[in-house]
Amino acid sequence: MNMMATMAAHPGDVGISQARNAIEIDNVAVTFGGSSRAVRAIDNVSLTVREGEFVSLIGHSGCGKSTLLRTIADIIAPTEGKVAIFGGTPSAARASRTFSMVFQQSVLMPWAKVIDNVRLPFEVGGANPKAGNFMDPYEALKLVELEGFEDALPSELSGGMRQRVSIARALVTRPKVLLMDEPFGALDELVRDTLNVELLRIWKQSGMTIVFVTHSLHEAVFLSQRVVVMSRRPSRIGGILEVDLPEERGLALKDAPELGHHVARLRDMLGAG
């Protein structure tokens, strides 16, 4: 309960109807390489993500869904078009810790204890935990159910536990936006299911906006309010599926026929794209 109270203090809890736009992607194109051997990874992508929304990006491997996420995260600069996060530039959002990123690998410092890994966002980049609305790192570990592992080294944890640590590290700055690049792609299915349910719980409690890249149709439908289907390279938005499933989603939903219908429609859209 205590956690819920601290997490819900966030402006993201306002209803979807009156929500602001968290992310605006306007006609973005990304080209890699020099002029002679240029490869256009994504082309002419426009997308708006509302505050508090859970949106998945899905597509064939190499279709540029990660590239799109990276332009939001200010890791790649768009060749054309622009990205805005709460009206500001991605670079300003990065500096103000407006968003956090979770990678496919847990990307932990193997030499640092779990708690020190979670604390990293406080200690670099001019972040000031006193001034910011940051979470206690121990609290963040509690949120991902890793109490008691504060002093362990990453190598002493399983792959799923390491990914939980990296989620705690992302949550500790109380970001308004969470960008996740196939975060559970390297985990086995049972662990993935558990973490899916937990991620939904954390999303509900925090009111965060989440953009989630995955290549699992089931995962995309299970988690999201909207699924954005990206076509093959050069990647465009092939279609958007509004997920019509109940707000409360438990593990049982993973095997429900409604979920299967959504997955079938996604598969159609992917084929057409």
Partner: protein, 274 residues
Amino acid sequence: MSVDRSIETAAPLPRIWSILPSPEVMRTLGMAVLGLSLTLVLWQLIVTLFGVPSYLVPAPTDVAGALSRDLPLLLDAAVPTITEAFLGFLLGNTVALLVAVSFVYNKVVEEMFYPVAILIKTIPIVAIAPVLKIILGNGIEPKIVIAALICFFPTLVNSVRGFRSVNPQLLELMHVLSASKTEVFLRIRIYSALPYIFSALKISVTMCVLGAIVGEWIGSNQGIGYLLLQSMFDFNAPRLFATILTASVIAITGFAIVSMLEKWIIRWDPGAAM
């Protein structure tokens, strides 16, 4: 007989070495002691059976005799050699680390000076030694510089590779966290490089003893290198062997100290993918 005795001396080792208790280590150690003892026995037998004069090849017992007789002399000679090797080790590795950092942060500096470093490496150390003697004189300085030179290259190459061995995703994470170059260096690069740096230090800690000895050959009236030459001129083969043994004990001790430091500092698994 001597085989039995060596096993007796190995028996109380577990108590002394209780800091590193693993049974595999004990087995490795035991096997090494056994092998060494057998070699010594064989050596003693050959020298005795074929009647090789001790001024040509001394038997292990002759060397042991020289070792106990000349112990004060050997310890006296060890002091300057250890000093030169240690200071050379510090100098060579410090400079190598600083140069490596400048290479990693400045491509132009690397492109210009990596070839120079390779050039220096290709000149045999015994060829540089006389030059250094002319420049730096007969004191301790040329020995330190030779020891430093011999340490420099392996540490440079390894630490450049180490500083670059950073997981690229960690760099992306640091970028997302708006970390400065200094923060990336202090929190990520140094740790990623440590395993590489330690493998270089383990090479250079034995090499710097060699460097100091070569320096003493070129011009000195003290140290292990001087004692080696002196014993050779005197046809005192047992003392010559005892001096070699002393040099090797110095190098092994240095290696053991660096290995322990490595174990103490690197407690994570550098090979593990995170």
